[in-house]
Symmetry: C2
Subunit: 244 residues, 2 copies
């Protein structure tokens, strides 16, 4: 594995520009993660590369339209925007299934799975059923373009407040901010526990950031209505007024 | 793979005696399937072998007590007696995880999965939740001993009727009959379609046998109450009286 680019120097808070990537000329593929839930950063562009592009889209699939023709393979767990954990979505270019290495276990072989229309084994039926209901719901919402607009508006509400706040900070680089996972910190981390307790009292849970970075994280996937964001911003305002 | 024993000579309707097995002395393990859903046969004994014994228990796990100490590894899909498809139960002897061959994909490595307490990946949470509810239900029923008694009584109702019938046949050898999947045929298969239609009219579906053997198959897993068997036997009687 060649790590072609990293933002470790700034705590994984941005996506290095394409021009800074040090790609191996003989790479079999380039792998990116469309949205990174810990730092709260997201690709808002598709990198141009001369080898197959593979993307983990677990945490932003179905949050916006995706031009699948730009990718050799995209894959993602269902548990963010699709349905229940235990189902994985894979979309791959037809010719790639044939590249399955010898001795690949059948369950992990795209050739076998594609050949059996994803039913080589008994598939996770309930998770597929729920995914079907989600797809129907997405259509009723106006499809992925409408979801993209809604997700942008939701995230903007929150980032706009954070950007003008003197009490809260938003660590992710503006151009790379995730629309799914909004990370923020309190300037004074001594308030962290109290802030989380107050949030819970107002019915807002799971706001604690990943243990590797600390701070806060608001996960606002498709299922989060704008009213949820409004309630959070309202709490941020109240909390800042009371403690700033 | 060495097929140590087979009942292909009689359409897979029995389990060859242990004394007839031709085992490889240097085998890594011996594999059996605890219950076979197509022919409708089931192990009511545990074979003695000198190498690790591995059993697929997908279709009779939790139908009766199991002495796990007799096996090196048992495994099964959850979708019969446990819960939703997409969850697999594996119980293996501690020392076997270390035998994972090099280059085994992490998702298929028992060493990795055991090391991470089955949470190497995001596990199929809903299927696990449903399995937990099933376990609680099993305890309320009196546990696996009570389930074994109930399953025996359920199957006996059906087999007893089939055994005295001159119209229906039960192809599986009596000593190997499955308590989970009761296979039977009509002496005159010309009645098959009519029989299935009549069953459907009485609210009994999925009675058609596997396409590879034809005939009928009543799957009477833990979730099937004795009333379901009584209704089926009542229909068999009525049908036989009307058509014999």
């Amino acid at each position: 594995v060649n790590i072609a680019a990293s933002s470790q120097d700034q705590n994984f808070s941005y996506i290095p520009e394409r021009s800074a990537w040090k790609l191996s000329p003989d790479a079999a593929y380039v792998h990116i993660t469309g949205n990174e839930t810990i730092g709260g950063i997201e690709y808002h562009w598709i990198p141009e590369v001369s080898v197959p592009l593979v993307a983990d889209v677990s945490s932003n699939f179905l949050s916006k339209p995706v031009d699948v023709s730009k990718y050799a393979l995209i894959y993602g767990g269902a548990q963010k925007n699709v349905g229940g954990a235990g189902l994985t979505i894979v979309i791959l270019r037809d010719d790639l299934a044939a590249l399955t290495p010898p001795k690949t276990p059948a369950m992990l072989s795209y050739a076998v799975q594609a050949g059996d229309r994803s039913m080589f084994n008994t598939p996770p039926t309930y998770a597929i059923y729920i995914a079907g209901l989600t797809f129907q719901w997405l259509k009723r919402q106006g499809g992925l373009s409408a979801m993209a607009e809604r997700n942008l508006a939701k995230a903007k509400l929150l980032y706009d407040y954070l950007d003008q706040s003197a009490f809260f900070l938003s660590p992710a680089r503006k151009s790379d901010r995730s629309l799914m996972n909004v990370t923020f910190t309190l300037k004074n981390p001594e308030f962290d526990a109290d802030f989380l307790k107050g949030a819970k009292d107002r019915g807002m849970i799971e706001l604690k950031g990943h243990r590797s970075v600390g701070g806060m994280r608001a996960s606002i996937y498709n299922a989060m209505p704008v009213e949820g964001i409004e309630r959070l911003v309202s709490y941020l305002k109240d909390y800042e007024t009371a403690h700033a």
